[in-house]
């Protein structure tokens, strides 16, 4: 009798273990229909691959596409609103890989998540494919990734025979002054975009994603071109503001009037608009290649 009941318990355990395995594999490969994405890049990816109607909430920093304005916002990198996220009953939460606390809380609530990591240009299409596979939109995701790769390939081909100006890619500084300059360093998607657009990163040897630049570094590195990126909507840079660079008269970019201002959020969101952003940099550095 005792042996039979032991066997029954063991059998039950096996069955429940097998069921759990099946359930988890279903969960792993199931389609997601109620997605919360708090990362602007992945939100753009989801909309661009055709899964926009599955996105039920976004992060506080999401701006694009305009449809996100109608969706509820549930915090962002520093302040995710866990209660609201759980209350929305998502079947997938796309979050930043560094949000370990949020991950733990979602695990406790048995809500699946996809952890996004911010890396280089090639990782963008890779993320699109993985995310597409995760939500059951392989076809749309593969088509989107393929389109971006083709566009980048075309840009590379267009600028292949042009000179590669040593370029400084600035993505932040104080208004009206050359202080607290932040520039793209030797790796990361901005660096990759610049290289794809036919520029030689003047900070290519600095193994950092972003570099705190000083005026001395700008003078010493003497870039042939300076591209300044502005991406905040309300940030209206005046001509006076760009004139701050004229102080550094010995820098070839300043001397040869090759200090450019490019605006657009696509420069800071490593999402599907990355090819368009790369093309804008390429057109700025090599207008002749696009005639």
């Amino acid at each position: 009798m005792a042996a039979v009941s032991t066997a029954r318990i063991a059998a039950r355990r096996w069955i429940s273990a097998a069921l759990l395995l099946v359930a988890s594999s279903v969960a792993l490969h199931s389609e997601a229909h109620r997605i919360v994405s708090i990362v602007p890049a992945t939100t753009e990816m989801l909309f661009a691959m055709g899964a926009g109607n599955r996105v039920v909430a976004v992060g506080s920093y999401d701006r694009f596409p305009p449809e996100v304005d109608k969706l509820p916002r549930v915090g962002a990198l520093l302040d995710p609103d866990v209660e609201r996220i759980i209350a929305i009953h998502p079947d997938l939460v796309v979050l930043y890989g560094t949000q370990t606390e949020l991950r733990t809380q979602l695990e406790r609530a048995a809500i699946p998540f996809y952890a996004y990591t911010h890396r280089g240009l090639s990782d963008i299409t890779e993320t699109i494919r993985t995310l597409g596979a995760r939500i059951g939109m392989e076809a749309g995701a593969n088509a989107l990734a393929g389109r971006i790769e083709a566009q980048l390939k075309e840009i590379r081909a267009r600028v292949a025979n042009s000179d590669r100006p040593r370029t400084l890619l600035v993505f932040g500084r104080d208004k009206g002054a050359l202080t607290n300059i932040d520039a793209s360093g030797g790796y990361g998607f901005l660096h990759d975009m610049l290289e794809a657009a036919g520029g030689a990163d003047v900070l290519g040897d600095v193994h950092q994603q972003s570099v705190m630049m000083t005026t001395e570094m700008v003078l010493a590195r003497a870039p042939d071109a300076i591209i300044e990126l502005r991406y905040v909507r309300s940030d209206a840079a005046s001509g006076n503001d760009m004139a701050a660079w004229n102080r550094l008269a010995s820098v070839p970019a300043v001397r040869n009037h090759r200090v450019y201002l490019l605006r657009g959020e696509e420069f800071v969101v490593p999402g599907p608009r990355v090819a368009a952003a790369t093309e804008r940099i390429a057109r700025t550095l090599h207008p002749e290649a696009f005639k």
């Binding site: 520093l78 002054a177 001395e216 003078l219 010493a220 905040v232």
Partner: protein
């Protein structure tokens, strides 16, 4: 006494002058002085001269001003509040300056005045706002009120302003939050002389007012009653001290950002070296503070060249352990 004052200030003065002369010559790029001062190469084509006059010299002057301003403010606050842990941050002036800077960053303020950009202007206004509150507290303070009250009020104001800063950071755009964090690390790469001239005005006023303070500070640090029995108008002296120290702090923070530990560490080092007489401590702290920040900035920009460390990191790496030692010694 006079001889000792002159001798001490001569030693500190020579050290500061030496640091001011040497620091602009050293950097991550090699420059040749013959080219820097060459009359044959036009300035626009002379990289060495541009590195020297645009990048390094304003930076060294800014470092000297920030160091001197923070250090004397620290001396005054420590004597006034009779607390060795008081610093220019204690009364919330530094937090006020930071809040001003955050507002300018978050709302993309684009106001210029006298060649000074929005950020230093806003941070100075922020410090002036905090100073107004501190001044009201000091003015309302009745005779016999403990300096602990002022200290606690300062801590409360700092905490309140700190909370406002964090709220603004949360409400701001992601990139603006990044810019604000960047500003809070502190930087002396001012790249122009306009902000230096701008900071010089309030700093000169502050230093001028402080010239009347040494005797009063000596007496006040023994206790207000002792000071009053010697005929000191304590309330008036306190106001002069508070306003001048806060002005110096505001000017320093608006120029270089909230660079930590200078205001707390330098006065203690100077007292260890020259004793407690404020006639010597005040000017010696100004000189030593200037040298300290020039040297810290030199380390910050050359140690891992071409990439540089935020100067606040270096002052904290040197100042932090000292501060801990001070705390432990106090506890023991």
């Amino acid at each position: 006494m006079r001889g000792r004052l002159i001798a001490t200030l001569a030693v500190f003065g020579i050290t500061t002058a030496f640091a001011c002369l040497i620091a602009p010559v050293i950097g991550s790029t090699t420059i040749h002085l013959s080219r820097v001062f060459s009359r044959t190469i036009p300035f626009a084509d002379n990289v060495d001269a541009q590195v020297f006059f645009i990048a390094r010299l304003p930076r060294v002057i800014a470092a000297a001003l920030v160091g001197a301003g923070m250090a004397v403010a620290g001396v005054v606050f420590q004597a006034l509040l009779r607390n060795p842990l008081a610093s220019p941050d204690t009364l919330g002036v530094s937090a006020g300056a930071t809040l001003g800077a955050m507002v300018a960053i978050t709302f993309h303020t684009d106001v210029h005045a006298f060649g000074i950009s929005a950020l230093p202007l806003a941070s100075f206004l922020g410090s002036a706002g905090a100073l107004g509150i501190v001044y009201a507290m000091a003015a309302a303070r009745r005779r016999g009120t403990s300096s602990t009250v002022l200290l606690l009020a300062g801590i409360a104001l700092s905490a309140f302003l700190g909370a406002m800063i964090r709220l603004l950071q949360l409400a701001a755009d992601f990139t603006d939050t990044f810019r604000s964090v960047r500003w809070m690390m502190g930087s002396l790469d001012v790249a122009s002389y306009a902000p230096i001239v701008g900071a010089l005005v309030p700093m000169t006023l502050a230093f001028g007012a402080m010239a009347s303070l040494p005797r009063v500070l000596d007496l006040v640090s023994l206790g207000t009653e002792a000071a009053e029995s010697r005929g000191v108008d304590v309330r008036r002296a306190e106001r002069v001290a508070l306003v001048s120290a806060s002005f110096a702090t505001g000017a320093a923070v608006s120029l270089g950002g909230p660079i930590p530990f200078v205001g707390i560490v330098v006065p203690h080092i100077v007292r260890l070296l020259v004793g407690a007489d404020h006639r010597i401590v005040l000017p010696a702290s100004a000189l030593f503070g200037a040298t300290f920040v020039i040297v810290c900035d030199l380390v910050a920009r050359t140690m891992f060249g071409p990439v540089e460390l935020p100067v606040g990191t270096v002052t904290a790496i040197i100042g932090g352990p000292f501060f801990l030692w001070l705390l432990f010694r106090r506890l023991a």
